[in-house]
Amino acid sequence: MSAESMSSGYTPNARRTGIDTPNVGGSLLSVRDLSVTFGVRGQRKVRAVDAVSFEIRPGEHLGLVGESGSGKSVTALAIMGLLPRRAVTTDGEVVYNNENILRWSPQKASALRGRDIAMVFQDPMTSLNPVVPVGTQVGEIFQRHFRVNKAESRNRSGDLLAKVGIPDPKRRLKDYPHQLSGGMRQRMLIAMALACEPRLLIADEPTTALDVTIQAQILELLKELVADTGAALLMITHDLGVVAGLCDRVNVMYSGRIVESATRGALFAEPRHPYTGGLLESIPRLDSPRGAPLRPIPGSPTQVLPWAQGCAFAPRCRNVLDVCRESTPTLDDHGDRELRCHNPLSADEPAKAGSP
């Protein structure tokens, strides 16, 4: 969750015009104008998340996509209320059950975490306590949120481990994290996150640290369990391939702002933002001709224009116009999507990515 790339200048952009799909059942969690600023007094402030708004409906799978430093992990931590209190300013609202949970007391917010909203982190190697048996770490979640005794929590832990496909779960409860492989640990962490059957699961690049062959298994497991419990999923990733297999809607973030937001079908069939297009083209595809080179996005995420001066992606964009360096694009409704771009890829430009 690097935050190196944001400017201090900030102009509040237009409020979102609303989501194209009618909001029938109401949203489960609604993020409104969420901004996160890092900075110690006297130093240059860094805005890692810049007026981000989106909604997650019950059971929906939402993707949040972007490169390192785009602010996706910080967004997740802000929703969870896990950002450090010092030197971090969080503005905007995160509305859950008609209440802005950002303004809740730490005690109240802590009761919500793990129970209603849970999170799976990137690195299963470091997310488990090395000196505590895994059974204790799973069991204390039940003790915390359901106030069950130790024996009962051990029973439930065993059942839970069985559910995530850990063989011989009762014996595994006594194991220490270093006795488990990376895939097993991530299963364990997913089990812990889903222990209380939360209504929203935030998964922050849950497969990045894993071996490729394990990645598919873990994603499959995640998909299955989320479907079983009926939880909504906020999938944070830089990998559009993961999004293609998992998400209903996708928000693409760049430099702290959402630049394109669309359903999976629309986004993959016809990426309109040059950044989204670039991300899709940089994925190797089985159906591309042999030897065809991948087209990476030139430059690095640190080469940004402050949003206040124009479009942050302008220095790396192949569709860049003069206006991109002069005025800040707004997030506009384009019918099937919302798009923040002065010169989007045209609808008839051949989409290299095809449909998922």
Partner: protein, 308 residues
Amino acid sequence: MTTTLPASGNPQGFVAGPDEEKGLSLWKGAWHRLRRNPSAIAGALIVLAFVVIALAAPLLTQYEPGSAEWSGEVTPTTVPGPDGDHLLGLDRFGSDLYTQLLFGARQSLVYGVVSTAIGLTAGTLLGILAGGFGGWVDTVVMRLVDIMLSVPSLLLAVSIAAVLGQNAYAIMIAIGAAQVPIFARLLRGSMLSQSRSDYVLAANALGIRRPRIVFGHVLPNALGPTIVQATLNLATAIIEVAALSFLGLGESDPAIAEWGRMLVAAQDRFDAAPQLALLPGACIAITALGFTLFGEALREALDPRTRR
């Protein structure tokens, strides 16, 4: 720890390597590494010998300590050396030197262990307070500890011993107090660094309460360096007991054998009987060396970087 790439066709994605350390916790792993370390074995043997001698002192000698039974044989210029009755000869007061050394070990062990326990307990409490609560509690506790640290530890011990008077408890408290800042700072530092780790963030994300995180997650991870330091501090404590005795602030009862006071007594007879100074000095040095060797080996064994 072995991470084996999963073989295809393994639906669980879990393969235990054949040489994977089965059932090894952090401490068990440390124990395995300790057993392979020669300096740990040397240190442990010295410490073991020291403890056995201290506990079994009355069984290893036929004489009473501090008896001054043969004071008639000591003249102003000569101290009888080793002979058939006295393995190492007499001391300048006419007691058996061998017996004095054995019982001196007992004194050193009691003083060392009790004063380190005092320092460890108080320092750990302060460290937990500072590292676990943070904020203004941390600031207050650490400023207090800084003040204690700004006084050289021996000087602090001397002042406390001087204030509390010349008795056994005063010496233990004095030496223990001098150790408090070391333990407090060490524990606070390692607790703070553990607090920033991923598993604490993950526990927070599961809604685990703060006291549970501090005592159940942060503390067990932070305790390793403190236990190592306690072993090393036993060596320091034994030296400081001797130093306080040497300065005349130690045990006042002449019937109790004490290595530091034996050094003082040996000073004016150094020409005639150097063994009176050399032997207790060697006892102090070897014992301190034993604890230091063992402590350093323990530090290495517990260091995650040396873990496979």
